[in-house]
């Protein structure tokens, strides 16, 4: 997949807000989002609930593009010890993204969907512990 801004690994993050901040960091560094986009992602969960957990253990923090998306990008954060999200949901894989170009965005969504529909790939993604292992699944 194109526009992968960063893949990171952490042993433990105690706060889900912190997890969102960390997964968004590569997007911020690569200029895909403004600081405000991160706050919007957190606010989104506070206001709208944990619907960004699109399958057990997998959260997809994002916000509306008008809250500070500057380019199309995606970043991955894996946390060894599950992070507690509101509603007592445990999350170990976070994929954050920002999209301004609809076509590229849809392509990314479609590819990511293929990954998450494939049990084998999902297992690989959840057990991956290096950048190249993650890239193998999602690239």
């Amino acid at each position: 997949m194109s526009n992968i801004c960063g893949i990171r690994f952490q042993d433990k993050i105690s706060d889900w807000k912190d997890a969102i901040r960390q997964v968004a960091q590569p997007l911020l560094e690569k200029g895909c989002i403004q600081e405000s986009y991160i706050d919007a992602m957190i606010q989104n969960v506070i206001e709208n609930g944990n619907y960004i957990i699109i399958m057990p253990g997998f959260a997809m923090p994002h916000a509306r593009p008008e809250f500070g998306a500057l380019g199309n990008g995606m970043s991955v954060l894996k946390v060894k010890e599950p992070v507690m999200f509101p509603g007592d949901q445990e999350v170990t894989v976070l994929v954050s993204f920002s999209g301004v170009n609809p076509e590229e965005h849809l392509e990314m969504i479609s590819k990511l969907t293929d990954v998450l529909m494939d049990d084998e790939l999902v297992d690989k993604l959840f057990s991956a512990s290096t950048e190249s292992e993650v890239l193998e699944v999602i690239a």
């Binding site: 960004i52 699109i54 997809m60 994002h62 509306r64 965005h105 529909m117």
Partner: protein, 480 residues
């Protein structure tokens, strides 16, 4: 007991903040227009200046009333909040900010209670009619009520403040005045006090002595500067971010109104404002300072321009002392209130997620029973041809969900229209909406009467399997 009261006060403060913050932009826009285009502004313009009064009299209070109502009861609350606020505004000479902040949420609360009362008792097909007419009728009554009962109370309170101010002036103990000035100011009654009481007194005084302290009693830009600096350094969120810009409009542009929302969202800062203004007045008295005319607007430049020769130090000292005192007191309040406010938010979140969970369970059961009905009535299932996945923005989670579901259908050799939308933009011809359980309320409000399936995750939820099965069965049946 004590704890409960504190939590309540905090929740109340949070509510005020939530009512004011979304409208900060409008206050700032109005501040710019005022600072630039009024007679004494930077670029006086008669036509643009006509915007100033209607925006502060109508638009800003209505925005507060709308937001307050919306917080209590969604879009319906916002709409009825506007109606009730209109009842306050029309026919009164003073800006109705206090009124809007009371009647907006109150009217929404009344409507909410009514909606809860009739919830589940509306015959299918009549939702729209009943919803519109209940809002219409309750809105009508509340608007009339706020015009004839609440408005006079607020106007009366205003008169009371004016006469109390007059009384203190008569005793001659001027440093006490901020106790009345500051609360009145943040309710946008500053012009009433300044131009109604202080400036006429000031003019008499200035005729005799060449300068007057009365001009400076409520127009000192120092306390506001201190407050905004405190927010700039110790505030949080958008209040912190907007404060520096507000300083420019307030201190250099002389539009004090720009800092009022900051006080309204944290009323305890009134103490800092009073303290700052008091020490300002005492300093002015100590130096025997005064201005030659009423500064309007009360910017630092107007102050300096109206300072008589030789009184520069006294005037500046009064402004700076006021700013410093207000800064110190307000910083203290912002700092101590920070920690509990956050834990309060956290607590609310926890409660919300608990409620969400229970709701989710209830809904799940509801969905199951609904499913049974569908089976009994297979005809209904064949009608599904357009499935909508909905979430907040309609870009991320619902897009993934729609994508995945479409692919699953394709695998079964079924082609159906599966699309993703923001909840509020779901097309009318959708046959079924799939949304997350935490968004169910919102979806129901936006799409009343639509069959809605709730899920706990957009990719792999058992309810999605059930929907898939249902479509599979019905399309097999349809081919036969």
């Amino acid at each position: 007991m004590k704890k409960k009261l504190r939590a309540r006060l905090q929740a109340f403060g949070g509510f005020l903040t939530a009512m004011v913050i979304p409208n900060m932009g409008a206050f700032i826009a109005w501040g710019f227009i005022t600072a630039l285009f009024i007679d004494t502004g930077w670029l006086p313009n008669k036509n643009f200046a006509e915007l100033v009064a209607p925006i502060s009299k109508f638009i800003l209070p209505i925005l507060l009333g709308y937001t307050g109502g919306k917080l209590v009861h969604g879009d319906r609350g916002g709409v009825i909040g506007v109606m009730a606020t209109a009842g306050m505004i029309v026919g009164s000479d003073i800006p109705m900010f206090l009124g809007a902040m009371i009647m907006g949420p109150f009217s929404a609360w009344v409507l909410k209670k009514f909606d809860q009362l009739i919830d589940g008792r509306i015959p299918t097909g009549f939702e729209m009619v009943i919803n519109n007419f209940s809002l219409g009728i309750i809105g009508c009554i509340l608007t009339l009520l706020s015009y004839s009962l609440v408005r006079p109370v607020v106007v009366g309170a205003n008169d009371l403040i004016s006469s109390a101010v007059q009384m203190i002036v008569n005793t001659g103990y001027l440093p006490l005045l901020p106790i009345l000035n500051e609360p009145a100011k943040v309710l946008f009654l500053n012009n009433v006090i300044d131009q109604g009481i202080y400036y006429p007194l000031g003019m008499q005084d200035a005729l005799e002595h060449g300068k007057s302290l009365f001009f400076m009693l409520a127009s000192n830009p120092g306390p506001g500067l201190g407050l905004l600096l405190a927010f700039t350094i110790f505030g949080k969120g958008s209040a912190k971010e907007t404060a520096p810009g507000a300083i420019i409009i307030h201190f250099f542009g002389g539009i004090h109104e720009i800092y009022f929302p900051y006080v309204l969202m944290k009323p305890i800062t009134l103490l800092g404002m009073i303290g700052g203004a008091m020490s300002g007045i005492i300093t002015f008295q100590f130096f025997g300072a005064g201005l030659v005319a009423g500064p309007s607007p009360g910017s630092i430049f107007a102050y300096l321009a109206l300072t008589p020769k030789g009184k520069f130090i006294g005037v500046m000292a009064g402004v700076l002392v006021a700013a410093a005192v207000s800064f110190v007191i307000n910083s203290f309040f912002l700092k101590v209130s920070k920690a509990p406010a956050e834990s309060d938010e956290f607590q609310k979140q926890q409660e919300a997620s608990k409620a969400m969970k229970q709701e989710g369970k209830d809904l799940l059961q509801g969905a199951m029973t609904e499913k049974k009905n569908d089976k009994a009535e297979a005809v209904k299932a064949t009608e599904i041809s357009f499935i909508v996945f909905a979430c907040d923005a309609g870009l991320g989670s619902s897009a993934m969900g729609a994508n995945a579901f479409r692919k699953r259908l394709e695998k079964e050799g079924i082609t159906k229209e599966v699309k993703n939308f923001a909840i509020e933009k779901v097309p009318q011809n959708a046959d079924v909406i799939v949304t997350h359980e935490s968004l169910y309320d919102r979806s129901l409000k936006a799409n009343p009467g639509k069959r809605t399936i709730t899920i706990q995750n957009f990719m792999r939820d058992p309810n999605l399997d059930m929907l898939l099965n249902e479509i599979k069965e019905s399309s097999a049946g349809g081919e036969k």
